[in-house]
């Protein structure tokens, strides 16, 4: 059975229609009591109710989508670029208290044999300690194994990211607070969270014992993960320098189990104890250049910035400002595809959220003028980019329009 995307949208609309009306009235007279707002929510696990959707193309060209809706992570695939979808399969049939922080989202990867890997985080207790869960499907997404913890440690883990290496090994990185236990036992304060990682060399059946690549990184921001070469992941992250400065750093693995030294991307000097909930985006171009876009409100600069490194992260170019600073540019996403760099981000003018795109054909030295490729007037997920070897698409889940896959390769 194939579920047409329009049908899915119609079902979602039917389910939400009464509440949408209630909400419109609600805006007109400015009422604000629990009943009105409480019912203005889409209440099932369908894509129409999703607050986040994460795409990936399998090597065979099939589009896979993982999404989060009302405590359930679901997966479906499409062979016609999102026009029709396979019946959704719940990765966790029983809803969980999922980590719905703005930068937290499930990670999905699909290998050459159509094994589907999904990792996501839930809150395990009332103190909001997280737990990263992992599941896989060995039958082309028809069923998923019961989700199990990615590590047996029980300290907080959040913000997981998966990456498939060329040989089929699966790399997982996440933020992990295990090292606060020995620190506290020594009477020391532990700032932030560690950057944890593990590998699976048996297609997700098991993971190696988790290790911490770096301690005291910022605890609430997503990671940017790429590969510098076989067995050599690169991770971009918001670090905590000197206990108080939350600027960005990269680490490149020397081999699968040995993280190299960390290098600072930029001295923005954002001294803060608050959680920015805005992590970086990273792309590695075919010649090995690292590209990163990040958000800062540092003393030196404020807004969204791009820089690149041609020497494995040791040095970065001077940060270049991205977007219109008067429109709150945020939530950047970078992709290296078709020998170009593609960058999208959100801007907001008080009513409408736009997604802007710019591209570079010379490894980030010069960029096209930004161009708006999509907009919405209600809540929206982060904009993401996905490529299938020939085409490049914006993937964007918005409350008003639902899921959209928008071809952008002709817009540069």
């Amino acid at each position: 059975m194939k579920l047409d995307v329009l049908t899915a949208a119609a079902i979602g609309l039917a389910l939400c229609a009464g509440t949408a009306l209630a909400q419109m009235e609600h805006h007109h007279d400015g009422m604000h009591h629990h009943e009105a707002a409480g019912t203005a929510k889409c209440a099932n696990a369908s894509l129409a109710c999703a607050t986040q959707a994460i795409p990936t193309f399998a090597p065979d060209g099939t589009l896979w989508l993982a999404w989060t809706a009302n405590g359930t992570v679901s997966v479906a695939h499409s062979r016609d670029l999102g026009r029709t979808w396979s019946p959704p399969v719940a990765v966790n049939p029983k809803p969980l208290d999922l980590d719905l922080g703005p930068d937290s989202r499930p990670s999905i990867a699909v290998d050459r044999d159509n094994r589907v890997f999904v990792a996501f985080a839930r809150f395990r207790n009332s103190k909001f300690d997280g737990e990263v869960l992992f599941s896989r499907s060995l039958d082309g997404g028809n069923s998923f194994a019961a989700a199990i913890p990615i590590t047996d440690d029980t300290e907080s883990q959040r913000f997981q990211a998966l990456a498939l290496d060329a040989d089929g090994s699966l790399f997982a990185a996440w933020l992990d607070k295990r090292d606060r236990v020995p620190a506290m036992a020594r009477g020391e304060k532990y700032v932030g969270a560690g950057l944890g990682f593990a590998w699976s060399n048996d297609h997700g059946a098991t993971f190696s014992a988790a290790k911490i690549a770096e301690d005291n990184t910022c605890e609430c921001c997503r990671l940017g993960v790429g590969l510098a070469g076989p067995g050599r992941p690169v991770v971009a992250f918001r670090n905590v320098f000197g206990g108080t400065v939350r600027d960005h750093a990269v680490v490149t693995f020397l081999n699968p189990h040995t993280p190299g030294p960390i290098h600072r991307v930029s001295v923005d000097d954002w001294q803060t104890d608050v959680c920015p909930h805005q992590g970086p985006t990273l792309a590695v171009s075919p010649d090995g250049t690292y590209h990163i876009v990040w958000f800062t409100e540092g003393r030196v600069r404020q807004g969204l910035f791009y820089a690149s490194s041609a020497d494995g992260g040791r040095t970065f170019t001077q940060p270049m400002q991205i977007g219109d600073p008067e429109r709150n540019p945020a939530r950047p996403y970078l992709l290296s595809a078709n020998r170009r760099l593609w960058l999208v981000w959100k801007e907001f003018d008080g009513k409408s959220t736009t997604v802007s795109l710019m591209t570079s054909g010379d490894d980030g030295r010069t960029w096209s003028a930004p161009r708006v490729v999509a907009h919405t007037d209600d809540a929206s997920d982060h904009p993401l980019l996905v490529g299938n070897g020939g085409r490049v698409f914006l993937s964007w889940q918005t409350r008003a329009e639902g899921y959209r896959l928008i071809a952008v390769e002709n817009t540069q």
Binding site: H32, P102, C275, N328
Partner: protein, 166 residues
């Protein structure tokens, strides 16, 4: 708008009569337009607005200090708004407000996932970082405290505001 104002005024009148040990039942939903209504309801009077969230570590440490500050300054016009970046559950928010001694404050909670819009209505440049406090003077002028508040500074501001009224 009339209904909105009536509700806002009702909550203002009601709030001081609730004892701090009583169960909290007034947690207003902060949606599109709420900020404008809130400002109108308090127009012409000084106001402190504190933004926090239950998943925010520094906020959880700071909230009992606001409870203490409110106790030391009876009549302090204090509004709290839960603007957590991770969506919160109303019961958890109420429970933390109670534990922090803040049931007498005017308490709100973000209840709209179009959070960019809610934040923009408050401050077009606010990207959502909490804790954050706004000191709004009688004439509407606003001072923003990013991060955990310095209570000596807040106390000085409130003394100046109270003195100006006399």
């Amino acid at each position: 708008m009339k209904r909105w104002l009536a509700l806002a005024l009702f909550s203002l009148v009601l709030a001081p009569t609730i004892s701090s040990s009583a169960p909290m039942d007034d947690l207003h939903d902060f949606v599109r337009g709420s900020w404008q209504g809130l400002r109108q309801a308090h127009a012409g009077a000084p106001l402190i607005v504190h933004f926090w969230g239950v998943t925010c570590g520094p906020c959880r440490a700071e909230m009992p200090q606001w409870g203490q500050f409110l106790k030391q300054h009876p009549g302090l016009p204090l509004v709290t708004i839960d603007a957590d970046l991770v969506p919160n559950n109303a019961d958890t928010v109420k429970s933390m407000l109670q534990q922090s001694g803040l049931t007498k404050a005017e308490n709100w909670m973000f209840d709209d996932d179009f959070v960019e819009r809610l934040r923009y209505e408050i401050d077009p440049h606010w990207q959502g970082d909490i804790p954050r406090t706004l000191l709004i003077a009688r004439d509407g002028s606003m001072t923003t405290i990013d991060g955990v508040a310095d209570f000596a500074r807040v106390a000085l501001w409130w003394r100046n505001q109270s003195a100006a009224a006399k």
